[in-house]
Structure formats: structure tokens, C-alpha cells
């Protein structure tokens, strides 16, 4: 399950083990049999670092999801709540505890806040009169969760909203803490680059934390050469566009949660003989997506238009492999064939799944409406007609397409025009309010506050300058055998990744002017290393850069980064 974490340039299993160890330590503090009551949201992230067997080894006998009223009966000594620090959850916990107290034999209650204790929540528990019932109240800083050999996530969905809408920078504090943890395991990162207000703050916090922590010198040889901190609001354009990689489209259409996707079950019905297609399952089919699956690793980052040929080639190979059985004559040959069966079977299952998913996606991408939407997006991104009311958006509103789709397009237009003309903005607003309801005044206000939607000020549109300097729009894009990151959006090169690319070569000095147009400061910090830990670089050796997006990243951006990293490896 976790082997795929060690394939990358940095062995992330080290981090995974460290987090697991900390979990065991906490469980052992609550001696005796235990039941865990889960904030359901957390089961996803926790599933990525531990399985039930680990909990069981530490006497966890029952597990429940956190719900109102009373807990299900459980004959255990300890009841432990695993929760996010949220006020509404505190109310439920209090209800559970109070009804349990009435039930009879006293239990030991504990609470584990993930990722952080919150004084506000404890205050709430106190107000509800149950704070004293908890023996251990601790925090488990599951800051950075290893996702794949080259990918970590904080799984912090609300970070963008908190930072840019509510101006609550707690998530930045967690980011800084997570990065300190990472440095503790993988060595001090000698160079920190950043762009954006939040990036600046995280870097400041890291420097401050390092200064405060004078305990012992970090004596680990640094694995990372650079850290690049990027504010999401430096590049609001990319997440608004439709991702066109295989993984990106799965996410666009079905949504990937904690590396799992839920798919319509019809396509995955087990095909047994004589089954006659009855008893179709109604529950959504859930699949885990990561690079542990060989086929998925190969196609996840490809432009969707290049996926078909890979699947088809793979099918031929597998068919040929199974055909081998006719050639197996001797006992030895048969034995060898049979020994390969499990692997072949897995490959076949994987192929069948992805063929089905590809069919589902193809159904969407070949629809006329998808094409129309893409055309409008690409017009905006290449700078065509961004300053007037778009008739496709008008149509979408008139036909009451999902509001989220309409808002994404309007915001995309706004970003590609450095804000909309007041007249255009007012027109869209009126249409949206009349069609979707006046209460969306609040929605639109929030979008404006976050900078996703705004009136053009000063009458200047900076986007063309940015687009040309950073080569964000590439007319000749090769989807099958890409030569540039722009393949992930079939023409548009994600701004964020372009910044990362230009940083590594030739350096940001060449794009000072554009950096000044983009919001927030850009900076460079050095963290001095003791001489013993300084790397002596071999000629031709590649640098390892950690890129941290503050406020979220798209799968297409990850694909683009992987593409860059392959280019580097190749030459």
C-alpha cells in the first residue's frame, strides 16, 4: 500500500512512518480497550497513513462515526474522539458524553484534535460542562500527508477561503509547522523562494521558528535543495480553467477525495456468465487512484486525447500475454505461465477499470456543450473578446446551467481581462441574481473580496503582458508527445508552473517586470548550513525542489510539474 511512496526522489515513507509512530504513541497513552469516534471527514486523510490493523494492535476494538445523541453500545474502557477543531463538532461531542454519563459505568474520555487543539473549542466544551470529563486532550498534527512518491498534501480544503476571504492565517501557520516537520526529517532546505503575501508570511514564520528552536542543530544531510512557496492568488487563472489531463478530468467530472474517486456503478458491474445483467449494484464504485497502479501511473498525467492509444496498446500486450497459454506445452512452461497469472490478472483489472472510466469521460468530453465551454475558455485565455459580454455565458445562464460553471467562466473572463468593465460586470451580476436568486449577492460579494471577480480599475489590462512574457498561450500544442507544459490545458501553460520553470532556468531575474505585476512580493531567503552538510554538487546532478502551493493546486498543475521533472531527468 505504501510502497509507491518510496519510488520518488525523496523517500516519503520516512514521513509516513513518523506520523504513524506518533499515532501509536497517543493510543498507548490511553491504556486498555478503546473505541474511536471519528469525525467522518478525518477517516479519509487518516486512511492514507494507517489502516485498521494498526489501530487494532493498540487495542482499538470499536469505531464509530461522530453523530448526535448517544453513542452505540461498546464494552470498552476508553472512548476517544478524533475530531477537527470545529465548534459544531464540540456540541455533538458534548451530547455524546452527557448521554454516556447517564448510561452507567464511567468511561475514560479523550479527545484528539487534528491537526490542532483549539482554545475556542475547549472553551465551548467548558461552556457545555463537559471539558472536565476528558482525561487526555491532545493534538495530532497531521500537517502534511504523503500522497504519492512525489506529492504531499495538507488536505486542508478551506485554506484558500480562510486566507483570502476570512483573512484567517491559521492555515499558514500549519503550513509553516508542516514544513518544519519536513525539515526535521529531511534536513534544512538551504534556499527558500516565494511569491505572494502568504508565501512571505510562511517564510517569515519558518525563519522565526528556526530561530526559536535552538535545542539542537539539525544534523541531517539536506535532501531538498530549494523550496518554492507560491500563493494561490498569484495565479487564480489556472484553477478556473477546465483541466484536460486524464486525472484532471476525473477530478473535474467526479471529484477526487483523499485520492479516492466515486464512479457510477453501471460500468463496473461484474460480468459473470449467466448473470444476465440483473442485480446491478446501486452503490457508487469507489476506486483509489495513485501511482502504485502501474497503468494509472502511466496515463494519469497525459492529455486525455493521448489516453486512448495507451489503453489500446496495453490491451494488445495483455491479450498477447494471455495468448501465451496456448504455447505453453511443457509442465515447466505451464507452471511459469501460471506463476505470472496474478500479475496479469491485476493488469487486466486495471485496464478494464480505466477503459470504463475513459468511456465515461469521453461521453462528457465529446458533448457539444463541453466543446463550446472549452472554446470560450480558450478564447479568454488567449485574450480574445475578454472585454464584452460573452454570448455563451449568457446562454448558460438562460438555460440555468449549474451556477458553479457560470461563475467559473465569468471569473475566468475577469482574470483574463484584469477585471471586467463595470458595465459588463453589472450585466452578469444582474443576470445571475435574477436567474439563480438574489441571495447570491453574498456569493458575488465573496468572489469580489477574494479577487476572483472584480471591476477593472485604471482601465488597464495587464493580462496580455503577462501572457506574452510567460508564454502562457501556446498555439501549437502536441497532446500526444508534449514538448511543453501547455499540453495539460491543451494550449494554456499554467502560470504557477511557468513561474516554477523559469525559476529553475534561467531564474526570476529575467521576469522581474511581470513579477511586479503579479500580486504580492517575491523574495529569496537562504538558510545557512553548517559546512559539513553543504552539498558538493556533481556536474549534471539535478536539484530537488519542493514546491508548496498555499491555497491549493490542481491535478493538471501537478501533471505539468511532473512533466518538467521528467524533462530534467532526461537531460
Amino acid at each position: 500500500m505504501a510502497a509507491h511512496l518510496s519510488y520518488g526522489r525523496v523517500n516519503l515513507n520516512v514521513l509516513r512512518e513518523a506520523v504513524r509512530r506518533e499515532l501509536r504513541e497517543f493510543l498507548d497513552k490511553c491504556a486498555g480497550s478503546k473505541a474511536i469516534v471519528w469525525d467522518e471527514y478525518l477517516t479519509g486523510p487518516f486512511g492514507l497513513i494507517a489502516q485498521y490493523s494498526l489501530l487494532k494492535e493498540h487495542e482499538v476494538e470499536k469505531m464509530f462515526t461522530l453523530k448526535g445523541s448517544r453513542l452505540p453500545a461498546a464494552d470498552v474502557k476508553n472512548i476517544i474522539f478524533f475530531v477537527r477543531p470545529r465548534l459544531e463538532l464540540m456540541d455533538i461531542i458534548a451530547e455524546n458524553v452527557l448521554s454516556e454519563d447517564r448510561r452507567g459505568p464511567t468511561r475514560d474520555f479523550h479527545i484528539l484534535f487534528v491537526p490542532r487543539r483549539s482554545l475556542l473549542c475547549e472553551q465551548r466544551l467548558k461552556d457545555l460542562g463537559v471539558l472536565g470529563s476528558f482525561i487526555h486532550r491532545e493534538e495530532y498534527s497531521l500537517d502534511l500527508i504523503p500522497f504519492d512518491g512525489d506529492l504531499l498534501s495538507m488536505e486542508s480544503e478551506g485554506a484558500f477561503k480562510e486566507c483570502y476571504l476570512e483573512s484567517d492565517q491559521t492555515s499558514l501557520y500549519h503550513a509553516a509547522k508542516g514544513l518544519m516537520t519536513l525539515q526535521a526529517l529531511y534536513g534544512t532546505i538551504p534556499q527558500i523562494f516565494g511569491k505572494g503575501e502568504c508565501a512571505r508570511q510562511v517564510a517569515n514564520m519558518m525563519i522565526r521558528m528556526k530561530r526559536e528552536f535552538t535545542g539542537s542543530q539539525n544534523s541531517i544531510f539536506p535532501v531538498f535543495d530549494n523550496l518554492l512557496l507560491l500563493d494561490r492568488n498569484v495565479d487564480l487563472l489556472t484553477p478556473l480553467a477546465t483541466q484536460l489531463t486524464y486525472e484532471g478530468l476525473i477530478d473535474e467530472i467526479y471529484g477526487i477525495q483523499n485520492s479516492y474517486v466515486k464512479l457510477p456503478p453501471e460500468k463496473f458491474a461484474p460480468k459473470k456468465q449467466g448473470d444476465g445483467g440483473k442485480d446491478l449494484p446501486t452503490e457508487a464504485k469507489k476506486l483509489q487512484l495513485n501511482s502504485a497502479e502501474e497503468l494509472y501511473a502511466e496515463i494519469r498525467d497525459k492529455n486525455f486525447n493521448a489516453v486512448g492509444s495507451v489503453l489500446s496498446k496495453r490491451a494488445k500486450v495483455i491479450s498477447a500475454a494471455f495468448e501465451e497459454r496456448h504455447n505453453a506445452k511443457t509442465v515447466g512452461e505451464i507452471k511459469q505461465f501460471v506463476s505470472q497469472l496474478p500479475h496479469m490478472q491485476a493488469a487486466r483489472g486495471s485496464l478494464a477499470n480505466h477503459t470504463s472510466i475513459a468511456e465515461l469521460i469521453k461521453d462528457v468530453t465529446t458533448s457539444e456543450d463541453f466543446f463550446d465551454k472549452l472554446t470560450v475558455e480558450q478564447e479568454f485565455m488567449s485574450g480574445v473578446d475578454t472585454d464584452k459580454v460573452n454570448s455563451y455565458i449568457e446562454d448558460c445562464i438562460a438555460q440555468k446551467h449549474p451556477l458553479i460553471k457560470v461563475l467559473r467562466l465569468v471569473c475566468l473572463q475577469s482574470v483574463c481581462n484584469s477585471g471586467l468593465k463595470q458595465k459588463v460586470l453589472d450585466y452578469y451580476k444582474r443576470e445571475i441574481l435574477q436567474t439563480y436568486g438574489y441571495e447570491h449577492i453574498l456569493t458575488l460579494y465573496n468572489l469580489e473580496k477574494a479577487g476572483l471577480l472584480k471591476p477593472q480599475t485604471g482601465g488597464r489590462n495587464n493580462y496580455p503582458t503577462i501572457r506574452k512574457t510567460l508564454r502562457l498561450w501556446m498555439d501549437d500544442v502536441n497532446e500526444q508527445n508534449p514538448t511543453d507544459i501547455s499540453y495539460v490545458y491543451s494550449g494554456y501553460a499554467p502560470l504557477s508552473v511557468r513561474l516554477a520553470q523559469l525559476l529553475s532556468r534561467p531564474g526570476w531575474r529575467s521576469i522581474e517586470e511581470v513579477l511586479r505585476i503579479l500580486p504580492g512580493p517575491h523574495f529569496e531567503e537562504r538558510q545557512p548550513l553548517p559546512t559539513g552538510l553543504q552539498k558538493k554538487r556533481q556536474p549534471g546532478e539535478n536539484r530537488v525542489t519542493l514546491i508548496f502551493f498555499l491555497g491549493g493546486v490542481t491535478f493538471a498543475e501537478i501533471a505539468a510539474l511532473r512533466f518538467l521533472s521528467q524533462l530534467e531527468d532526461g537531460g
Partner: protein, 482 residues
């Protein structure tokens, strides 16, 4: 995406993957299909063997033994938990977890930071980051149901903040002077830890008068933002409004007040509440919208009372034929317009774009083609009639098609599309044969006409018509072709 359910099923059940063409590589596709079949047929050969070597995955995709899977299992089997556990044990032996090499790493997050402190104690990162790791403090936290109190009374504001950040509970009460309190706040802000900032703000909110709190926060923007967030979180609307008023942030004040209407269920009360919003200092644009919102709900209440009465009386044909699906209350303006055009159609409205679109959809749904016709008919002063559509006839056609208008009706409006290419496309798409044929004829496009001949039914009137045109004008076409 307008596929109906039936279409969908047909699509999934059919074995032809027509829609699934990976661009121009149709042959590859059929190979893929074949390979898929080949792959599937192999089940006969291998299927009944156990998948022991593979990771076990339950139908829902949860690997057996994963946390979310186990929640269901252990909760579901609470009666026969022993058995359930036995099952688990045996299943778990297949899960890949046990195949992992035993953890060899001795790293632990906390051990890294712990440095010289006691092993085995569960301390978080932030503990270790303190600049005085060796400082001895009683382990007051986690005292079995004990009292929490301070063990020292002379911590400076910065020590206190540091302790708070480590999650230690400590009293703030001894900071009495305003100066001390503000210093505490500044220390907290400089740490960037929202949790601690909020804790200090709670203390300040409790111990300072509103005026002083507001005044001091006005010059401390970060803390101010946290207070606003905190007040929203705990739902202290009153203090929040006071704060906005004090800061003169009038638009936020207005929006924040307006937001409350979402919590009011009773339509009359909601209407009254919206009325109180009308005069508030929104931006000029929003003011108009808020006024509209109020007026809309006011009318909806009248319509709703009236129609509910009509419907239950059962005297009105339209309500008997097409019972209302839901109340019209709190529906968006356009939905209300649709509703009105559906149940209360009059021609007194002004034909602006939104209106035409909505009225068209409503009347088409009722198959009131006469009304549809009237929507687009204008008379000039001489009494001649002319067809005009402010939304463009191509959109009219799309909407009519969506409401499954018959071909004759569609044809009439396709013919009104001005742009020839668009007209031809639409006519082809919606199978308005006559329009296609006539247009090709007018364009003298023999090739396209020939191509279209294969699309109409053999021996149909359309085919005859095409043949007639092709034959009658051989000479002129051949001229063109030379």
C-alpha cells in the same frame, strides 16, 4: 448532456462505442473493444481462483482493513463482534498492510524536537520550538479530571503567549491593565497562530468595554480580522454589526445584516425582514437588487396564496392539467417569470431578452404554438406583420427543440435563421429535411445535396424531391462544376 435517462441506458447497454472514439483512430477503438472482450473472456479461465495475492478491495473500493471500511464493519457487527473480529483478523492477513516491511525507522515527529526532554511523552512540534525546552513545568494538562491552574504568576505576556501556543491552559486574568492586555495581543499576533490570537481576543472581549476594544483593534488590523471571523463563527451578530458600524464599514454592515434573512423560514417574516434591508447602505447596484428581492417576495406571497386556493378548488383547468410541482415562494426571478408565463400568461409584458427566453420556454412546454408565434410577430404601422426575435432565431429553435416541438414548427423557425450556415447546421441537426434541401438548392450546392440524399429514407418524399432538383438542373450544375 441533454441525454434522457432512456437514451443513457440504451447507450450503456449497447455494445457499440460510437460515442467513444478516440479522435481519428477508429480502428484503434475497435481494437480496444476487442481487447476488452478478450480481457473479459479470460475470466472463464482464471476467475474462480482466489485473488489471494492481490490486495482485497471491497465493492465500495475501500481496501479491506482500511479505516473507513472498518468503521462500518465494527459498528455493524456490534452484536457478534467477536466473530467480526475473527473475520477481520483473517482478512487482514491478506491486506497489504501486513506485507509491508516492519517499520525500521525510529524517526518520530516529536522525538526530533524533543531533544533532551523526557522520552515517551506526547509533545507536539510547537513544544519543541520553544526557546526554553528544558524549562520545567508541571504536567498540569491531562491531569485526570483535575483543576487547571497556573503554577506561576509571573509570566510575561510573551511567556504566556508561548504557553498558550503549546496548548497549555493558563489564566490570563492577571493581566489587568490595558497596556498588559494589548501587549498580550501583540505577542499573539506576532506568532501568527490564529488559535492563540482568538484566545486572547476572547479574553479581551470579556474584560474590555466595547468602545475600548473596538478602538484598539481599529489600529491592529490582523487582530481585527480575527475578531470579525470569530464573531461570525460564534454567531454574535449583534456585536458584529456594532463593530462594522463603529468602523464605518457600511457595505459589510449591510451585507451582514442582509445575510440573516437566510435563517428566516416564515415568508411573511422574511418579507418584513427584507423590508428593513432596503434602506441600508449597499452599493448603488446592490441597493436596486435588494429592492427587487423584496418586491419579488412580496408578489410571490400574493401569487402563492392565490394559486394555492385555485389549485385546491380544482376549478381551473391549467392547475388540474399541470399540477404545481412546488411553491413559488423564494424562487429566483426567472423561475417566477416562467411560472407566471405558464399559469398566468398575458401579453402585457415587455419583450426584453430574458422575458422572451422564459416565456418561450413556458409556452412551448404547454405546446401553445400560437403564443409562441405571437411572441415574435411585430406589426408595422402599415399593418404588415414581420417576424423578429431579439434573442436570435437560432436560440428559439434550440429551445423549441428542447421542449420537443414537432418538425413543422421547428422548420418554420429554422427558416427564419438569417445566417445560411447556421440555418443549414440547425436544419441538419433537427432533421428539417425541407429546409436543408431548399437551402442547398438555393446555394446550388450539388455535392451537399447528393450527400444529404443518403441521409433521408429510401423512397420518401424527400428523396424524390432531391432527385427532382438534381435532374431538373443538370445543366446549370454541370456549368458550375466545370
Amino acid at each position: 448532456m441533454n441525454r434522457t435517462k432512456g437514451d443513457e441506458e440504451e447507450y450503456w447497454n449497447s455494445s457499440k462505442f460510437k460515442a467513444f472514439t478516440f479522435d481519428d483512430e477508429d480502428d484503434e477503438l475497435s481494437q480496444l473493444k476487442e481487447s476488452k472482450r478478450a480481457v473479459n473472456s479470460l475470466r472463464d479461465f482464471v476467475d474462480d481462483e482466489d485473488d489471494d495475492d492481490l490486495e482485497r478491495v471491497s465493492w465500495s473500493g475501500e481496501p479491506v482493513g482500511s479505516i473507513s471500511w472498518s468503521i462500518k464493519e465494527t459498528a455493524g457487527n456490534s452484536g457478534s463482534s467477536q466473530e467480526g473480529r475473527e473475520q477481520l483478523k483473517s482478512r487482514n492477513s491478506f491486506s497489504t498492510y501486513t506485507q509491508l516491511p516492519k517499520p525500521t525507522s525510529t524517526y518520530s515527529l516529536s522525538s526530533f524536537f524533543r531533544g533532551r526532554t523526557r522520552p515517551g511523552s506526547f509533545q507536539s512540534l510547537s513544544d519543541a520550538l520553544s526557546d526554553a525546552p528544558a524549562k520545567s513545568y508541571a504536567p498540569e494538562l491531562g491531569r485526570p479530571k483535575g483543576e487547571y491552574r497556573d503554577y506561576s504568576n509571573d509570566w510575561s505576556p510573551s511567556d504566556t503567549v508561548r504557553r498558550l501556543r503549546k496548548g497549555k491552559v493558563c489564566s490570563l486574568e492577571r493581566f489587568r491593565s490595558l497596556q498588559d492586555k494589548l501587549q498580550l495581543l501583540e505577542e499573539a499576533v506576532s506568532m501568527h497562530d490564529g488559535n492563540v490570537i482568538t484566545a486572547v481576543l476572547i479574553f479581551l472581549k470579556r474584560t474590555l468595554s466595547k468602545e475600548i476594544l473596538f478602538r484598539e483593534l481599529e489600529v491592529r488590523q490582523v487582530a481585527l480580522r480575527h475578531l470579525i471571523h470569530f464573531l461570525k463563527e460564534i454567531g454574535d451578530q449583534k456585536l458584529l454589526l456594532d463593530l462594522f458600524r463603529f468602523l464605518d464599514r457600511t457595505e459589510e454592515l449591510a451585507l451582514s445584516h442582509y445575510r440573516e434573512h437566510l435563517n428566516i423560514q416564515d415568508p411573511e417574516k422574511r418579507k418584513e425582514f427584507l423590508k428593513t434591508c432596503v434602506g441600508l447602505p449597499f452599493s448603488a447596484e446592490d441597493s436596486a437588487h435588494i429592492q427587487d428581492h423584496y418586491t419579488l417576495l412580496e408578489r410571490q406571497i400574493i401569487i402563492e396564496a392565490n394559486d394555492r386556493h385555485l389549485e385546491s378548488a380544482g376549478q381551473t383547468e391549467i392547475f388540474r392539467k399541470h399540477p404545481r410541482k412546488a411553491s413559488i415562494l423564494n424562487m429566483p426571478l426567472v423561475t417566477t417569470l416562467f411560472y407566471s408565463c405558464f399559469y398566468h400568461y398575458t401579453e402585457a409584458e415587455i419583450p426584453d431578452k430574458q422575458y422572451v427566453l422564459t416565456a418561450l420556454a413556458a409556452r412551448a412546454k404547454l405546446r401553445a404554438w400560437h403564443d409562441v408565434d405571437a411572441l415574435f410577430t411585430t406589426k408595422n404601422w402599415l399593418g404588415y406583420t414581420k417576424k423578429r426575435a431579439p434573442i436570435g432565431f437560432h436560440r428559439v429553435v434550440e429551445i423549441l427543440h428542447k421542449n420537443s416541438a414537432p418538425v413543422q414548427i421547428l422548420q418554420e423557425y429554422v427558416n427564419l435563421v438569417e445566417d445560411v450556415d447556421t440555418k443549414l447546421n440547425l436544419a441538419t441537426k433537427f432533421k428539417c429535411h425541407d429546409v436543408v434541401i431548399d437551402t442547398c438548392r438555393d446555394l446550388k450546392d450539388r455535392q451537399q445535396l447528393l450527400a444529404y440524399r443518403s441521409k433521408v429514407d429510401k423512397g420518401s418524399a424527400e428523396e424524390e424531391k432531391i432527385d427532382a432538383i438534381l435532374n431538373s438542373s443538370v445543366s446549370s450544375y454541370s456549368l458550375l462544376l466545370q
